[in-house]
């Protein structure tokens, strides 16, 4: 039998989800860690625009009808004390670290953009 407790400790600021179709890869399958994804702009109508590599995506902001909880699994602290008979009942096993109430969805086909670098110009 298992009982895992959930602690509620959300970030005071709501988190955001960006939804893209397909997947994101680096040119040479390098890990994504610390890699730049793109630039997020808003136009005069308040619509989000994402420049991702050599692509432009137009998106929209969607308010979620139910919030999404971000659940983080807590790694249990090892009980290194001598009294190993004490079972640590109060350790929580999951924590809701944030709530997401808004998504930015980019569902349109990406538009290729042609960038002219200074070095290309003669």
């Amino acid at each position: 039998m298992v009982e895992l407790s959930v602690r509620y400790n959300p970030d005071s600021k709501e988190w955001i989800i960006i939804e893209l179709q397909g997947s994101v890869e680096t040119y040479n399958s390098l890990p994504l860690k610390d890699v730049g994804l793109g630039d997020l702009h808003y136009n005069a109508n308040g619509e989000p625009l994402l420049i991702l590599g050599h692509h432009l995506l137009k998106g929209k902001i969607v308010n979620l009808s139910n919030p999404i909880g971000v659940f983080a699994k807590q790694t249990k602290k090892q009980n290194s004390t001598l009294s190993d008979s004490i079972t640590d009942d109060v350790t929580c096993d999951y924590e809701v670290v944030a709530l997401v109430r808004k998504k930015i969805i980019f569902a349109t086909r990406p538009k290729p953009i042609l960038v002219k670098y200074e070095s290309d110009k003669d």
Binding site: M1, V2, E3, S5, V6, Y8, K13, W15, I16, I17, I18, E19, L20, Q21, G22, S23, V24, E25, T26, Y27, P31, L32, K33, D34, V35, G36, L37, G38, D39, L40, H41, Y42, N43, A44, G46, P48, L49, L50, I51, L52, G53, H54, L64, N66, P67, I68, G69, V70, F71, A72, K73, D93, V96, L99, V100, K102, I104, R109, K111, V115
Partner: protein, 392 residues
């Protein structure tokens, strides 16, 4: 669109580079600072889960209620608040979801403090799946089975507490919230004895009720107002007082300090069960007659009291009735219907409703369960009948 978009390994660090790309994309009406999105150096792929929260769960979390996942190791994941339980199920998503703690989506909060300003936001995790919470009906058949492993018979025989369960053990086994389990335990007349929840062994419970009814009859007390304290004292040599009180509180109601009245419906149901239990089948009309004779004077039996404890077959000849208590049935709708239709091929709505009513939830009604799992047809008397859909 299934194209894989290549993230640029080039970092857009400077205003010039950002402008180079935004000009190329003809973005000229930028009204707020540009946000540079970067995957975090501590990119976290497996430790986080996205779960959509119903409003009731959000409120429970905000109120600081204890929220837990409960179950046996191979059970589906069930989350319980203090009064509700939900099954966690995967929601369909094939899109890529990027989670960020600091992207600004509210443009009112984004204003330029200087012309050349760039903001930086991190993506800390990416997902291809989210989860949602579906209404869940606790596995009460497990609760029932566990409590009946070792029913309480009498103090003398209580030499061992083997196969006895505490409230928190029952919670985990049944995947129930505290509120739901308490309601169920009350319904099946369980009681807490020294931190363990127990049901009374049937014949032991029956003998207590008979003793109470006999005493009322012998003393010619009115069952609508009998002196319960005297009743308690007179029977205390036979049964432990706390057990007597437990039984009295189920079958009676306090009128005032001195007097209690018996619950007519429950006492009639009790007599029906005592008659039906030992035999396989009873002729319906014969049963009704004997039943009325067996209840205390002034009590009126009624066929509605037989619902959910028995099945009557009016199409057999002669019409018959047999014992079939609801508590034997599975807690999942389709399994329960399959059990019911094994007993009898065709049911009218009035007959089957009492066996399904406890499955009703805010979102699921008896009618919707029937619509989902059964077919309806008209019988010889042109009455609407239900039969089980074979494929589910």
């Amino acid at each position: 669109m299934t194209d894989n978009i290549n993230a640029s390994v080039v970092k857009f660090a400077t205003q010039e580079e950002v402008e180079l790309f935004s000009n190329a994309a003809s973005i000229t009406d930028n009204i707020v600072p540009v946000q540079i999105l970067t995957f975090s150096e501590n990119l976290n792929f497996s430790d986080l889960k996205l779960i959509e929260l119903p409003q009731t769960v959000v409120s429970a979390l905000e109120l600081g209620e204890s929220i837990v996942f409960r179950g046996r190791p191979n059970d589906s994941l069930v989350l319980c608040t203090s009064s509700e339980s939900y099954e966690i199920q995967q929601a369909d998503t094939s899109n890529l979801l990027l989670l960020s703690p600091n992207i600004m989506a509210d443009i009112d909060q984004l204003t330029y403090s200087g012309r050349e300003e760039l903001l930086h936001a991190k993506v800390i995790s990416s997902f291809h799946e989210t989860f949602e919470m579906k209404e869940f009906r606790p596995k009460y058949e497990r609760t029932h089975a566990l409590l009946n492993k070792h029913p309480f018979e009498c103090i003398e025989q209580e030499s061992t507490l083997e196969d006895c369960y505490t409230f928190s053990e029952l919670l985990k086994e049944s995947q129930a919230s505290e509120g739901e389990l308490l309601i169920y335990l009350k319904k099946i007349q369980a009681l807490e004895i020294d931190t363990h929840w127990r049901v009374l062994e049937y014949s032991f419970r029956d003998s207590i009720i008979f003793q109470i009814l006999n005493l009322i009859e012998e003393n010619e007390w009115d069952w609508r107002g009998f002196p319960w304290k005297i009743c308690l004292e007179m029977l205390s040599p036979l049964f432990p007082k706390f057990i007597l009180e437990h039984v009295l509180c189920i079958y009676g109601r306090h009128i005032d300090d001195q007097r209690m009245s018996l619950d007519e419906e429950l006492v009639c149901m009790f007599h029906a069960e005592c008659l039906l239990k030992p035999v396989r089948k009873f002729a319906y009309s014969e049963f009704l007659e004997i039943w009325q004779q067996s209840v205390p004077l002034g009590m009126q039996t009624n066929s509605t009291q037989l619902l959910a404890i028995s099945i009557a077959d009016m199409s057999s000849s002669p019409p018959s009735i047999w014992y079939f208590p609801e508590e034997r049935l599975n807690s999942q709708p389709y399994e329960r219907l399959a059990q019911l239709f094994r007993e009898k091929d065709k049911w009218t709505e009035d007959e089957i409703r009492p066996f399904l009513i406890t499955l009703e939830t805010a979102k699921t009604s008896v009618s919707s369960i029937l619509l989902h799992c059964t077919r309806s047809s008209l019988d010889v008397n042109r009455k609407k009948c239900y039969s089980l859909k074979k494929t589910h």
